[in-house]
Structures are given as C-alpha cells and as structure tokens.
Amino acid sequence: MADLSADLGFLRLRNPVLTASGTFGYGLEFAPYLDLNRLGGIVVKGLYYGPREGNPPPRLVETASGLINAIGLQGVGVEHFAADVLPELRKYDTAVFVNVCGADNEEYLRVIDFLEGQDGIAGYELNISCPNVKQNGACPALFPEATRLIVAAARARSRRPLIAKLSPNVTSIVDIARAAEDGGADALSLINTILALAVDLETRRPKLGNIFGGLSGPAVKPIALRMTYQVAKAVHIPVIGMGGIMNGADALEFMVSGARAVQVGTANFVEPGAALRIVEEMAAWCDAHGVARVSDIVGTLQA
C-alpha cells in the first residue's frame, strides 16, 4: 500500500488529511463516527481567550453545492478548552492544532501564551481570516502588513509550529501569503470561506442573521485550487489546501496543485466519517496509479 505520510518539515503527519477548523467541533464530537487516531490531524474550532457568544441566528443557509455560515466563532474559550477538552484529546494519537482567534493582536497572543503551558498541542493555526466576526468581513488576512505583523508577533511568542490561515477575499492571495511567510509562518492553510450573501426574495431580507457569511463546500473548490496553486508556487513553506474537498480525488487535486496536506471541512457535516473515507480513497488511487508515496504527486500539475 502507498505511503500516505505527509512531511510538513516541522512535523510528519500519518497522512495528509486534517479536519478543518469550525467543521469538526473540538474533535470529540466525531469520536462516535470515526477513529480519530487514523486522521492526519485535527484543527479544533477557533478559540478566543474567553467564551464567545457568536452571531444571532439564522447562522446557516445552503446554496448550490455550498453552505454559507455566519456562526461568528461561538466557542468555549481557552480555560474551558484546556480543562475539559484537551485532556480528552490527549488520549488520541493524532496531531491536534488549535485554531487561534483574537479580537485584536493582543488577544491572539494571550491565547497562545495560555496554551504554551498545555501539552498535547502540535501547533497553532492562526485564524486571521474569519469573515464573520467584524463588519463586512474585515480581518487581518485582508492586508499584507497586518498579516505580517500578527504572524511575527505570534512567532515571537511560541516555538510551536505556526500555520497562518489565509482569506480568499483579497485581490492578491500571493501578496498575503508572502507577508505571512515573511512574518515567520511555518506553513499556510487556505482557503477560509468566501464572503457571501444569500437573499430571501419574498421578504427582501438577507437569509443570515449576520447579513454576510462565508461560503464553503464543493462550490468553492475551483477557486481554492487556483489559490493553492498560486500560493504554493510563490512561497517556500508548506501549503495546506482546503475548500470543498468531498472525496479522495478532490484531495489529490489539491496536492497536485501544490498542497502538502489538505483539510476536510464542510464534508464532515454531511458525513461525519468523511475524512477517513477520503484517506482510504487517496490510498486506493495511489495504489491504482502505481504511486508509491502520495507526497510524490505534490506540485506535479503540468501547467
């Protein structure tokens, strides 16, 4: 059987499939549906320092092969996470990444400072790209300098691997990617959701309580692939691709486009065992195509 391991440089994963932040709860919610030990890794739901209220409902609307969400990062905060969730997650042999949020730069650093004292964390994914917490989707990842500054500040606080999660809602994703690399990120993950609007024609009102939300699911995959390809060509650090991955072929398309690992997101809602099915489908594809190591296909797009 093909070697599925994924080398991120700072960390070797069992396989290239991680579960995407915000789509996999704190991981434990999925224990009844799949063996967490067989995942490449888990990126847990975004954490602010304290508990977070989130946005008023409706928070979800389905669109053609897509989902627009405006959850607003409702969550438990670092203290509850460290006391009640992390001890349970430590029982599993999988790489746990914490998605780190902040209302301002200082809060990102407070979250990291708190988590530095906690075992069982493989690294941080800096969530600088959530479109649902400030007006009109504002976030650091829309601006190169803001991105570089927050990544550099986080870098100075921790020796743990640092992944910067990028937003697609920009004119040049490459400029933002380079800024994150300059700031000292160990890897980049992309894409976060695409800022979107759904309209109820009869009431002429937005379908989401937050007005705008973030689009995910198969509808966004071609955009995510394009950005993964552009960014992977432009930076020297590993790229983790995501956006609408529903099956092994989707995941492999991201790897061919330059991603060394992938994240599975919206698919987890539809099929809680999706991430492991995708791992199995990737292995079967490699075997059927005589690919000994899945890492051999990374960045092999002939363009």
Binding site: P32, I71, F269, P272
Partner: protein, 263 residues
Amino acid sequence: MPHDPRARIIRRQSWGDFHLFRFESPALAASAKPGQFVMVRTAEGTDPLLRRPISLHDGGDGWMEIFFRVAGRGTALLAERKEGQTLDLIGPLGGGYQLDGEWSGRKAWLVGGGRGIAPLYFLGRALQVRGARVRVFYGGKTRAEIPLAGKFRDAGFDVACSTDDGSLGYRGFVTALLEKELAAGPPAGLFVCGPDPMMERTARLAQARNIPAQISLEAIMGCGFGACWGCVKRIKRQDGGKWRKICEDGPVFAADEIIWDEA
C-alpha cells in the same frame, strides 16, 4: 451505530405533501426515544448538500418511521424514494422529551401543527405505556394538513383537530382551541411541536397557568450532532441566557427556558 447509510424503506404512505416512511434500522429502533430526530441525506451528490433533520415518528421491533412534509428541493427529492430503496441517516440525535415522574392516570396534552405532529405519535405511545391519559391537539391550515388524525384516534388518543378554514374540527388556531380547553382544567403536562409562533403561544399559555411544558424546537442544521453550532436558540439556564445548540442541547426544551423574542 450512529450512521446508517442503508436503512431499507419497507413501507411508505403519502398524503399530498406529507410522507411517512417506515424503514428497517435495528440499531436505531433499540435506542431511539420520542423527540429525537435523524439527519437524512436527501439525494446523492452535492446538491442538495446538507442532510435534513426529521423527527422520528414511531418505532417498533427493528423499524422506525419518519414523517415529513415537502418544504423545498431536498425534501421533494426525498419524497421520491420508493419502498425497497434505502435511506442514509444519522441518529438517533438530540435529547428527546423528558418522561420521568409519575404519569399513571394523569393527563398529558400533546399539541402539534403541520409537520410538527411528527414526534407526537411516538411520544403519545410512550406516555400511554406509562399510563397517561393522552389528548392530542392537532392543527393545520386546512383539512389536508391533518392527514394523521385517524391514525392518532386508532392509537386510542383523544384527538381534537383545528383548521384555519374550519374544514375540519375547530375553526381557528390550535392554540385558541387549546386555550378554550385549558379553561376546563389543566393537564399535568404539555408537549409541543410545530411552527414557532404556535409553540411560543403555547409556551405562554402554559407558563401563565404553571403547567410544565416541553417544546421541541426546529432549525436549519448543518450537522445535527453538535459540531457546526449553526442551529442555536437563546436558552435561559443557571448560567444566564446563551445561544444553545438545538440539535445537541435540545431539540426539546422546557417552555420557561426559551427566550422567544431573540431571532
């Protein structure tokens, strides 16, 4: 087994937009409680993308039933499923109605509207087993929206129907019928499922008379098992009012916990 991708449909009945599927699912049948629901995949492929939450309507030896109304493209596709075909479902999900305490000889009133009647059959049978005297208030816009009245009567429940147009039973909202009947003396408990305005009105009627009421809320759900945080309602507990997940913390809540006026 929480995810059953191949539950075989062994019987289906339809009344216009309303459909009832009986399917084989021994694991579900062994553990499901009234008020719980399943997340059902409506079609192959990615459009529709998300599963739909549907109440469990009844259960027996190795089988369960769902009852639903076509409300959009997803449920319309689901309604095309034939006997012998399979359902891909996750469940049982949610906490269900709380039936602890003494029910023998006591009055349990069930209030349902439209597709919201779905969980009340399963619930009524469970209350009946506990010796409760079950009365069902079943409302709809027209007679066509009350397809299960006969089934509820056959089960031995005392059924009172209402329609907005008077085509069956009391003319007016089911909550008005309920209010009229409450004047003659309160039941030991109210159990409610239906459209939000109906549930809010019923909750207020119950609270004004100190009748314990359990309300089963409905929402668009991303996952149904607590991972997406998409289906929240403002719920008041000791820790104050918070957005709580309808799928995981509910879908059934005590009437006095629900804060209705926020989204």
